[in-house]
Amino acid sequence: MNILKHPALSQWQSQFSSTLFWRKQLKQSLLTLSGLLVFVLCWQLASSQIQTSLGQFPGPTQAAAQWSQLVDEYQAEQQREDAFHRRQLERHAAMLAEDPATEFTSLPYRARPTFFSQILTSLHTVLTGFVLASLIAIPLGMLIGLSNNLYQVFNPLIQLFKPISPLAWLPLVTLIVSSVDLSSAWGSRSFVVSVCTVMLCSLWPTLLNTAVGVSQVPNDLLNVSKVLRLSWWRHLRIIVLPSAVPMIFTGLRLSLGIAWMVLIAAEMLAQNPGLGKFVWDEFQNGSSDSLSRICVAVLVIGLLGFALDRLMLMLQRKVNWDKTAVSR
């Protein structure tokens, strides 16, 4: 008779462990919530103490009000766009009724940028810049990591360029981009300027981490590669790349974080469309709502940065072979 192996007991045990699991979840969300609560309280208390030239500093309630205001503006803009297209269709139908052979060109709707369209612009820009930077940084990093000589050549350059602030790149990039004739395929000039600035600043963490990851393949695995006589290409694909993947992702996540920060700064400084410009415009605008709107924008910038990082983390979990290595 073994009491410990009784089916009812083990059932009870599994139930117990599942309540344990839920308790842990509950505790975690409570802790997260309490953190948020403390923040909102502090914000409320602090804001009532701060007087600015634009009136009192907005608290959470004012910010929330502005948020719904921004949503309303967005919906109004949507309705206006729908109405525009409807009118145009009606006009075309009327013209067709008069003369079936009429040819006409549809007029594009010139949307006024809303908060949400600025968000989309920023996301589009940051992802383009980040992807381009990664496409350069990963292969280059692998080459540098594989060859000690190349590493010696590139290392001083990387150390030199890495600490350069985006604000220092911006004038140079702007001048170069405006001197080069861009075909329309590239999109607007300001887009190219933003993308290039983001690229130049977010290149370095991926480059360095890839190089380090590639150069740190364990000696045992290099020996395996030699004994199996893998070709250079297979050696790269089967041995080097997988063992460097964790480091590459560390670099990518750092790069994406930098890319997002740099982009907002660049948009503010260069008046390029995006969230940064939204903040700057509101700052220049100086109406009584401006401060609350800026608060909303700042929070959204933070949330989006967080979301981008989570996205990378998810991608890392998917790609990485070592499921235990990925944590926060």
């Binding site: 695995l221 020996n223 395996v224 030699k226 004994v227 006589r229 089967i238 997988p242 072979w321 070592d322």
Partner: protein, 288 residues
């Protein structure tokens, strides 16, 4: 250079005056010196010696992973300068690729070896056959970090066997295994080796294993500048059965010879070691 051995069997693998020194901060460290060994085709040779004497280094030189500083290795009348497909290695620490499954780890070696000559089905059969040999068929899709140390070692052995090498180089292949699995694998290895006439060079710490499996046991002196101390030829009939040999006087005689080599040496080493430690102790005291 001796190409034939009493006109009967050709020397297959030949180590001549092999020595190696590693560059270290305190100047070159001579790990091996004057290692001479002639191995015939299909011979099973064990290397035995104390930890750190340079057994793995000898194996790595034969594998082509290290270059001898003096002397050289000749296999089939050609000098060994790099790893080759005819020499498979079972590494001391299994060295499986952690991002590949058990199956894929072996498959990689088979694909690499067959060079496009095997069909997909043939590759699959061959990989499965070799994993079957080491009793690992149940874990084909597991990653190395999901299996035990002994299981990893078995996959490492399967990977080497699957390459159908002329020379099998094994660095303590059964070290991490429990007694039962070890006995089973030793028997399989003897069978496979008899079947394929593979030349085997195996490092071991286990005297019983060495005597049971080997045609010759190479006993190494302690480093630095380690070399071959004695070579013991094991004249036991094959196939050998561990149970029958347990009471065999010749078998026990061989065991005794190896043990006495190791223990005599070891006592010397301990003396040397303690003297050295004392010296160190005095030095540190003097400098303090």
């Amino acid at each position: 250079m001796q190409k034939t051995n009493s006109g009967m069997q050709k020397t297959h693998l030949e180590l001549t005056q092999v020595g190696i020194s590693f560059p270290t901060e305190k100047g070159p460290f001579v790990a091996l010196q004057n290692v001479n060994l002639h191995i015939k085709k299909g011979e099973f040779v064990s290397l035995i010696g104390h930890s750190g004497c340079g057994k793995s280094t000898v194996l790595n030189i034969v594998a082509g992973l290290h270059q001898a500083t003096t002397g050289g290795v000749i296999l089939n009348h050609k000098e060994v300068t790099e790893p080759g497909p005819e020499r498979a290695v079972v590494f001391q620490n299994h060295s499986l690729l952690p991002w590949l499954t058990v199956y894929q780890n072996v498959e990689l070696a088979v694909k690499q070896q067959s060079d496009g000559k095997k069909t997909k089905a043939e590759i699959r059969d061959w990989v499965e056959h070799n994993l079957e040999l080491v009793h690992m068929s149940h874990a084909l899709d597991k990653r190395p970090n999901e299996i035990s140390g002994g299981m990893k070692q078995r996959v490492g052995i399967a990977r080497a066997l699957a390459m159908q090498p002329e020379v099998l180089l094994m660095d303590e292949p059964f070290g991490a295994l429990d007694a039962l699995t070890r006995a089973h694998l030793q028997d399989s290895l003897m069978e496979i080796q008899a079947q394929l006439n593979t030349t085997v060079m195996m490092i071991t710490h286990d005297v019983d294993e060495a005597v049971l499996l080997s045609d010759r046991i190479v006993m190494m002196t302690n480093g630095p500048a380690a070399t071959i101390g004695e070579i013991l030829t094991i004249d036991l009939l094959r196939p050998r059965h561990r149970l029958q040999l347990a009471d065999d006087p010749t078998y026990n005689h061989y065991r005794h010879q190896v043990l006495s080599f190791l223990y005599e040496k070891q006592r010397k080493v301990e003396d040397l070691g303690s003297k050295r430690a004392e010296k160190q102790h005095h030095k540190t005291q003097a400098s303090a």
